[in-house]
Amino acid sequence: MSAPASAETGLLLDGLRCAGCVHRVEQALRALPGVTEAAVNFTTHRALVRHERARADGAALVVCVESLGYRATAYDPESLDRPAHVAARDAVVRLMVAGFLAGNVMLVSLALYLGTASMDPTTRRALRWLAVALSAPAVTWCAASFWRGAWHGLRRRELTLDVPVVLGCTTAFVVAVAGTLAETTHVFADSASMIVFLILLGRTLEGGARARAAGAVERFVRLAPETAQRVTADGRETVPVTALRVGDRVIVAPGQSVPADGRVARGATELDESLLSGESLPVLHGPGDAVTGGTRNLVAEIEVEVMATASGGTLARIAALLERAQAERPHVQRVVDRVSVWFAPAVLIAAGATAGVWLAAGAAPLEVALVAASVLIVACPCALGLATPVAITAAIGRAAGMGILFKSGAAVERCATVSSVLLDKTGTLTEGRLAVEEVIAAEGGERETLAAAAAAEGASTHPIAVAVREAAAAAGIAPPDARTPRSVRVGRGVVAGGADGAEVILVGSQALLEEHGVTVGAALNEAAGKAAARGRSLAFVAALRPDSSGRTERPKALGVLVLADPPRPDARAAVAALRALGVDLALVSGDHAAAVAFAAARAGVDAWSAGVSPEGKVEAVRARRPFGGVLLAGDGVNDAAALAAADVGIAFARGADVAIHAADVVVRAPRLGAVPDALGLARTTLRRIRENLCVALAYNAIAIPLAACGVLHPLPAAVAMGLSSLVVTANSVRLLRWRPPLAAGPGGAR
């Protein structure tokens, strides 16, 4: 067995801080001999590398990335959780220690500021040294992540927010030490540890909120055992899906999923393909028909001859498409990154200009240094560092309360800039299950037709049987006798009863009825034809009643059940809400045109396309990208790649695992209204972030000139810094009370 010459390897990256890191890792990997393509995904901290095994193996890729100062693990899903866990605990410990240090330094400084007049010089010196000693671990150990971030940023000639943070706290610490030694009036002892604590607090909060939402998402992924029943010479054996070879025969029982792409070798059944293709109705498969891995067997046991291995089948193709879409998603710079690019240079210029002016005015060098340092200290972006994380934390928390789980903070920001929304049909706009929409009665009444159908279907788990049972229960019809004998005719329907001269009930296709000599009246036929043209599924119901002499009466069809995948109850209201948000709306489905057109019309969506492949959905996302952010809501395997390619992918918790993995947002409640809610909340959040940034910059705009003139006392400076951080936090916390605007019309009730 020889390894393929070209391979794709995933790398889990630790230490990525911004878009610059992404670029750097990509460049380094591409420069490696044997690597043909490398794409780094910042959101998931993963890299996708295409390389020749012979010239560059997984270990070489890891070494290459680690030489840049990041940590990398050749991708393995098992190890996905651990690094995040360790990092989160470490961050909390450093935050606690920073809080302890900052609190104590603040108390000591307060004594120094307020008690200077009555304090003897020895006590003052002792307290100053105490403040310095307590600040030292804060600016070194607690602030390690800022130092690392600033260092990596500077090596790439990039100014992240870490640079002004490090600059501010280091200057504050140096001034405190120098001021204590030189016995100056003010020492700024409190600034250093306060800066570190506040910014660590913001980052830890955001990290925690993100991890909580992501953890909640994990719970929706059902870890299905990926095994198959393989037919051997002496019976069956259970083997992992990956062990299946082309030509193997596997048994698929009702309720199980088809393990791999193949062909039906024996038996016939109906398969549920809704998660894979968006097809809302069960599809009949007989001997020789091709079946797709991942579809669910509904009716009868079949034997499948495997035609493609797990790594070459449809599911693997979709998985590869997904990985590529994820890795190639364009990186959108976060709002705060756009500010920090010019913030650091502006602060440095302000400090330099201050020093220049004071020198020119003939001030003593020590005094000039102190004034310039105070500019750097008061400019330290505490509120700026809190502006985004606190708002994002509040938004993620509020969204979770509405059953909307954002996997990352960046997803909230991206969601705010969405201008077009694509909706999947089956399972998104609709409920993804069959329901009796209408009973067209002919011979019997509606109630009699439904009761007969319910009696015939019994406790079957076939989607049509489930729909009939629900409708019967809703109509107050007693549950059927489970002992009635029935036989399932694959692809045709069910024949029930007939024991001991009881009536025989037929539920199924027109062909099933004709087989039993039942004729369908012209009126019924016409009504049924109309429903079928709307993309509906039909189930004819007939009863064959033996008369007193034992002969069967002239058989007639009782009526027909019209079955459809019902739209979600709030679909119309949600579509109206999306329109109110001013987004461009379209329906993209893999289902047939008739079903898609009808669902679109019913929900009030004008633009729709049907029969779209997974690749086609990705293409639909790409085509809309030039006009702004694209949001896709879907739930199927066929949506997964497009969910990853979109700026924001929203999946439903009852959908396919792969879709939940690929999406940025997972909706817990079966409610389409979650889509406009997520959009509205994200837009409000972005507005709060912008307001926060304005508050933070306003503080700087006032404090820097005062510090530059040398008139800013450190106590008011510290109070103003805390105040601006408080205002930013309070403004963000308002998001916790966010409510969706009342939807227009009576359909808006929720």
Binding site: R89, M96, F100, A126, L127, A216
Partner: protein, 55 residues
């Protein structure tokens, strides 16, 4: 103000002990998931496997 020479180290020591206890709790993973345990009983069907321990 010589009393400060005793009270300040004493309070710092007390605070350090408290921080040490909290750090210990974090290291043992007690604060890893503040929301999960509260909601776990809502999701306690068989399809939801317990989080593997010992991480």
């Amino acid at each position: 103000m010589s009393f400060l020479a005793i009270t300040i180290p004493a309070t710092l020591l007390l605070a350090a002990v408290l921080v040490g206890l909290l750090v210990g709790a974090v290291r043992r993973g007690e604060l890893d998931d503040l929301e999960g345990p509260a909601e776990r009983h809502v999701f306690d069907d068989d399809s939801c496997p317990e989080r593997p321990s010992g991480q």
